[in-house]
Symmetry: C2
Subunit: 368 residues, 2 copies
DNA sequence: TCTGGCACTCGGTAGACTTGAGTGCCAGGC
DNA sequence: GCCTGGCACTCAAGTCTACCGAGTGCCAGA
């Protein structure tokens, strides 16, 4: 008695998922667009006067009833306008919104940024979050490439104080890691250097998660330092293991939501880097670029939408850029911004990593 | 007609600043304590029933009139209770609050933390912000030691790709900095190593802000790499120059203030690391441990109080820990927490830096 | 000099009323 | 058979009023 009773609904129930009839789609689009702009429930007369909708408000009303029944819209209360549900936003994003291009001003802003930025990758990623959050006025997140597959290019031991040394390891992707080594006895610089050389000789080319078991050098002092260094590196647990994450413009969150409670809980999430990383990864892995409301199955972010774009170098996804905003976010602009910035970041990382056939680096290859 | 008219006010106008008469101080204390707890304006009858105040509410009222006239209290509106002004809080902090000790639970929490934490300084400082913000439920800030006076202990050039190398510099305080070097032509590993040795030989012992002018090695290729490295390091502008800052528990801000606008603006401040660093430094330099409201002369934080404690190693202030909360913060707990954590951080940094007479490090000395 | 008492103030709450945006439904027209 | 204008209805939000109560300032008396 439900679906077949309404002649306007296609008989094929699956068709609803693919495409609403044109008029309903236009009405949904009008509601979403209006609501994104005003944050106020949208009434039928507003919709009727929208370009793209050529029917009277009465007709709009009856269509809106159908849209509500199908879960695209809800009414906060009777005698109020409608607001989109997550499903409504999803349809809007999937079918009603163009891929979107940046406005000339934004385009210029991006170009300027990539002209000026230079130096270390970390710095660049960090600043990119600022750029993204300024472009969109949402909070931006950038996840840098993980160092899992990078190999060790160099190891060195530097003395700091009589019984304190530093193990410095350079990875093939340009990352540097270090570990303090506390020594039981004073050790000469020469021994430290030799220990470094010993480590270097045996560790170069391995991944940073490899075992640090290094054969004896024949000198007891040197071996002790080597062992201490291995131990120090063994309990890494930080820096290299977790992907780096940069957050830009957290203050924007307070603009996006007017409930303090929401701000608090979303900020709380952002503090948990691991959660954020896996969230972005998860969304990307599911082939999405937007996760709306509870689509990511993550309760505390139910009132948020997450826009994600990959940072790929030579077709390989090395990182991700993301935007965090309210579900009534400007998806078009957010998608365009994330996409462009992600792409250009990827290009940039590619350029500096490439420069010809790699001499022993594992993760880059020279094509393109 | 103002001051002499009230017989309860000391004739000596300066005396007011030093110490309110006992009764007024007790009343002020009661108001502040109550207000910190409830965030509601405090009426005379509440004060009258507080321990430490032995007079009737009528008397309290007349004293409160005086306290208001002298700027310690304000009335949000007639027929409301009083709330403390910044000056009121200041008097409370300076004269009415005990230095304060941590409760046993907190003490245990701190001990546990310092038992468990280990590894690199950055990691430790980072985690310390989490500890502080959990202890106090306010947002915590930790500023690490600056590298200004640290000297270079080692320089090394590592090849990453045919035309890409990395300059890695180790400072005497254990910090590591790096710069990507893009080379005009392919260079053999041997040349890179020799360039590193050349840099090492001439830069060790200098501060990282020194000029990177290094004499010619006699080999053109090597010199070119050395020059490129010097240039790369010249435009440092990041990492080493700005002190590192770690923020813990920004989400707590949203609990401290119920006006979203305030949260937004304070978060905005926290994004500007330089501002935060100079704010903390400034407060410390003025010999304060608390800056209330506008005392720091910083408009956007007018509704905040900042509690600061130094992190000293061997009597030298190397860093600072801070807490950011509403002016109606629990000063006693905040002061105690910041103090203890700052102190123990200092001890910890001292231990790992010391280990005997330094062999060439500039900033540490061996006395206890 | 303190205290109890008293009149007064005024923010906040609760209820009654109004307004207006918006709906659902229906009869009539193309 | 679908669309439209019209109409009665609903309900959140705003306005007005009255009232309550916490709190004050002031004063006379102990």
């Amino acid at each position: 008695m439900t679906a077949p009773a309404d002649p306007a609904v296609p008989i094929d129930a699956d068709a609803e998922e693919r495409a609403l009839n044109d008029r309903r789609a236009a009405i949904l689009e009008a509601v979403v667009t209006e609501y994104i702009g005003t944050a106020e429930p949208v009434g039928s007369s507003h919709v009727a006067s929208a370009p793209g909708v050529q029917v009277s408000s009465a007709t709009v009303r009856s269509e809106m009833v159908a849209l509500e029944r199908d879960g695209y819209l809800v009414q906060p209360h009777t005698s109020a306008g409608r607001i989109p549900t997550d499903k409504g936003y999803r349809f809007f994003v999937d079918h009603l919104t163009e891929p979107g291009v940046l406005g000339p001003t934004q385009h210029q802003q991006v170009s300027l940024f990539f002209d000026q930025v230079h130096g270390e990758m970390e710095t660049m990623l960090e600043r990119a979050t600022g750029l993204l959050s300024e472009l969109t006025s949402y909070t931006a997140v950038v996840v840098g490439p993980s160092h899992d597959s990078a190999t060790i290019r160099s190891a060195q031991v530097v003395g700091l104080a009589p019984r304190l040394a530093l193990l410095v390891v350079v990875l093939s992707d340009g990352a540097v890691d270090k570990r303090t080594i506390e020594l039981e006895a004073e050790v000469s610089d020469d021994v430290l250097t030799r220990a470094g050389a010993q480590l270097h000789a045996h560790m170069v080319g391995k991944t940073s998660s490899s075992s640090w078991a290094v054969p004896s050098s024949g000198n007891n002092d040197v071996d002790r330092v080597v062992a201490a260094a291995g131990t120090a590196f063994g309990l890494m647990e930080h820096s290299m293991e977790s992907d780096q994450i940069f957050v830009g413009g957290p203050a924007r969150l307070a603009q996006s939501f007017d409930a303090v409670e929401t701000v608090r809980s979303v900020l709380g999430i952002l503090e948990q880097q691991l959660v954020v990383v896996s969230l972005l990864r998860d969304v990307l892995n599911r082939g999405l670029s937007v996760a709306i409301g509870t689509e990511h199955g993550f309760e505390p972010l139910a009132s948020c939408a997450v826009v994600v774009a990959p940072v790929s170098v030579d077709g390989q996804e090395l990182g991700a850029v993301g935007l965090l905003g309210p579900t009534r976010m400007d998806y078009q602009r957010a998608l365009a911004s994330a996409h462009v910035v992600g792409e250009r970041l990827g290009q940039r990382l590619g350029e500096s990593g490439r420069s010809g056939a790699p001499a022993g680096t594992g993760s880059h290859d020279g094509r393109n």
